[in-house]
Symmetry: C2
Subunit: 457 residues, 2 copies
């Protein structure tokens, strides 16, 4: 019998606990969290704010009672302060808790940009359930909101606020939004949002926020950027990304990777014996570049929790490996899907010399179904490949039609290192309500293949 | 300069002509067809009958004039009677037409079951534009139709007729419908159709039709099966599959494959010098079993036409290869998607001994999106793999949610011979409107992996 102690209760922690208990009911499992609830879907929060998800409880996947019933001890509002690896012990709420295996699922927290008066009322981050509730309340009393950060959460929040009748101002420090995409996709996404909702939505790029101004009650009234732009609003949400919570780990001698996340091997072990890590606090590996990559996503947290549980209950045997990720991501702006997998052409160009690759790309606009079907929609797909090896490197897609299907299809191809030539005649199921006879993915592959076969380079 | 003669005008023929002309404008290209139009989407016919596609002209992709403008000579209502390979000549409408390269795109025609009085009025096949128009006219004067054959076209026709207020009787000679699927999927599809539309739809299995009965005007009134079942209806559509048109080829010494289709190599060459074939008249190769497979689909015809054009204009160099197909197929019954790729568990079991494989499968029912999203729907996905090698062999999916995306994702995995272990943690893009945190595909892969890792077998 082992005692397994898990720190963190959002996604990876509960997953590790539940899986480990199912595999080895004889083990004692304790899960500690600073919060007053566990096992929730943070990625559903924008849809709760929007009103698509009516009740916050719908985002709670399993309650502490569910875990207790399974024989897992859950400790809410407990803060892990220090790990003493030599004693195999964690100090939690001032008390020593001993472990045979310790799993760090300490998650991530919002990046706090350097803005004067950032801690005033009326300035929100979106990370936890309570943040979602607070923002929704603020929204219901407001007519205008300013969002700092034009990434995935930024786009989801614009949708939520527009849907609720607010005027929205987006302020982005970079020259474009959705920076994991190539520039032309950033522009198309921006243009789509402004074409649809330009009367409610205003965007400012290359604007770094310097200061927040509050009223006599200490509540946010406006922001001022370094360029002197002033934006008044009823409240502000900062969506500038997240950073992994690794202080507890670092302090215990656990290695932190170059991305800032905890370094783990394919079994989810850290460098310190009997200490494992999973979820938003860890660093992943990009399967395309083979380099470290940091991603904070519920789906990855769940996979890593699973792998950690399988391996720590079987150790020293490694029974399941987590090899890495493709950087896949998706969101929507109402009926407009925005998705990618692998690396962009601009990212590929940046690493071209170092990796000795010669990136090429093909962008195709085509109907997602047979053009004569009444609900067929244009979508835009860009495929990126390496001209030297012929290997696919990534795909980006946007549009009101079925983009997701195409990006998903490319994930499998990237996972197996498929070349454009191998991908070229992929036997995708075809019928008029689902695809054109030659799917847009294959049209893009044909164009890439033409570039690869072109001997003049 | 070469003279390229193409026989057949539906999909592969026009594709070959257009691609060859674009690649080598100097070549003379002649396209001959028995029909009075070319280049149309036969797979759109059920949606024309249904009324989803309003105008038959929408199914015509390019007109003869479009081809003439491109410099391709089109000969409508011309029948190729005989090939004289030694003279490099085809007899068409009684005249000798000389070629440097000949491409056979003679397509397929409906299988005519052995039924007494099959040629009476009121009995239809659905293959060509004129068939679609005739069936639509018959439908508008009818209250009840009987369909013979419960495959893809059968299902599409049930939808079309139900949508137009007809009573529909399906008669199937086999004990179940949609036979390329595993039996339990056949049952689920049947049950779904009957649950939704049982008041309009009646199905009879294991019933072989023996005879059609006509009224005094020689028009269909009822059918009688070998078991004595009698079904009255206003008209009858036979959808018992198709067979390749290969008589012209066979007569010229072109090799016919075991499936009945013309045998071609990866460049789309036949065994006879300067004779190529593409589209519904050819035999394909299954990429899973590596065995000959016959498929009649517009998407494959287009791919083969492309490959034939590229290679015949470059020959003897082979510039693009068509390696084979996965047997992928999809259709819908209203909002219910029915799709598969690769081989079914039952097919795998049939070839298990010969191929030394040990088929395993996992079937999962799960929401297609985060369960808390209001429009999430249950879908059913079955993955099939080989326990010995761990390789994925196929996938089947049904449901009112996004089935297509999952099946497409598996096609890439099959194309590259991915194992379950490699597929297990596939980084599919995740957001609540698109997937659950652990996608149904990965849940199925986890279950398969459990079976593979189970040493007790």
């Amino acid at each position: 019998m082992k005692k397994i102690v898990i720190i963190g209760g959002s996604a990876a922690g509960p997953k590790t606990a539940a899986k480990a208990k199912r595999m080895t009911p004889e083990n004692e499992i304790e899960l500690y969290t600073q919060e007053n609830l566990i096992s929730y879907s943070a990625c559903g929060l924008p849809y709760f704010i929007e009103g698509t998800v009516k009740n916050i409880n719908q985002l709670i996947i399993r309650t502490p009672e569910d875990f207790e019933k399974q024989g897992i001890k859950v400790f809410l509002e407990h803060t892990a302060q220090k790990i003493l690896p030599d004693k195999k012990c964690v100090i939690i709420n001032g008390k020593e808790v001993y472990y045979d295996e310790l799993v760090l699922c300490t998650g991530a927290e919002p990046i706090k940009p350097k803005i004067k008066n950032i801690d005033i009322d009326g300035v929100y981050f979106l990370r936890r359930i309570k943040d979602g509730i607070a923002i929704k309340e603020a929204m219901h009393e407001a007519k205008k909101v300013v969002i700092i950060g034009g990434g995935f959460i930024g786009v989801e929040l614009i949708e939520a606020f527009v849907q609720n009748g607010l005027s929205v101002v987006l302020v982005e420090s970079c020259s474009r939004m959705m920076r994991v995409f190539d520039s032309e996709f950033s522009d198309m996404i921006k243009n789509h949002i402004l074409e649809r909702d330009g009367q409610w939505v205003e965007m400012h790029f290359s604007q770094e926020v310097e200061e927040f101004i509050s009223d006599e009650n200490g509540k946010f009234t406006k922001l001022i950027t370094k360029n002197g732009l002033e934006i008044e609003a009823d409240f502000c949400v900062i969506a500038s990304g997240v950073k992994p919570n690794v202080e507890l780990a670092r302090d215990a001698g656990v290695e932190i990777g170059v991305t800032g996340g905890i370094a783990v091997d394919v079994s989810m072990r850290t460098n310190v014996p009997n200490i494992w890590a999973a979820g938003d606090c860890t660093q992943e590996r990009c399967l395309i570049t083979k380099r470290p990559l940091y991603a904070s996503l519920g789906t990855i947290a769940n996979k890593e929790g699973r792998v950690a549980a399988i391996n720590l209950t079987n150790c020293p045997e490694v029974c399941e490996r987590f090899e890495g990720i493709l950087g896949s991501a998706i969101t929507r702006y109402f009926n407009y899907t925005i998705a990618l997998t692998g690396i962009s052409a601009e990212d590929a160009a940046r690493i071209a010399e170092k990796f000795d690759i010669h990136p090429i790309s093909a962008t195709v606009v085509k109907k997602d179904k047979a053009g004569y079907m009444p609900n067929s929609e244009n979508i835009t797909i860009k495929l990126v490949a390496d001209k030297k090896t012929g290997k696919l490197l990534g795909a980006q897609g946007i549009g009101t039609g079925d983009v997701n299907k195409r990006i998903n299809t490319v994930t499998s191809a990237l996972q197996s290192g498929l070349t454009v030539e191998e991908f070229l005649h992929l036997d995708l199921p075809y019928a008029p309500p689902y695809s054109s006879t030659i799917d847009i993915l294959l049209t893009a592959a044909y164009r890439l293949n033409g570039q690869i076969k072109d001997k003049n380079w």
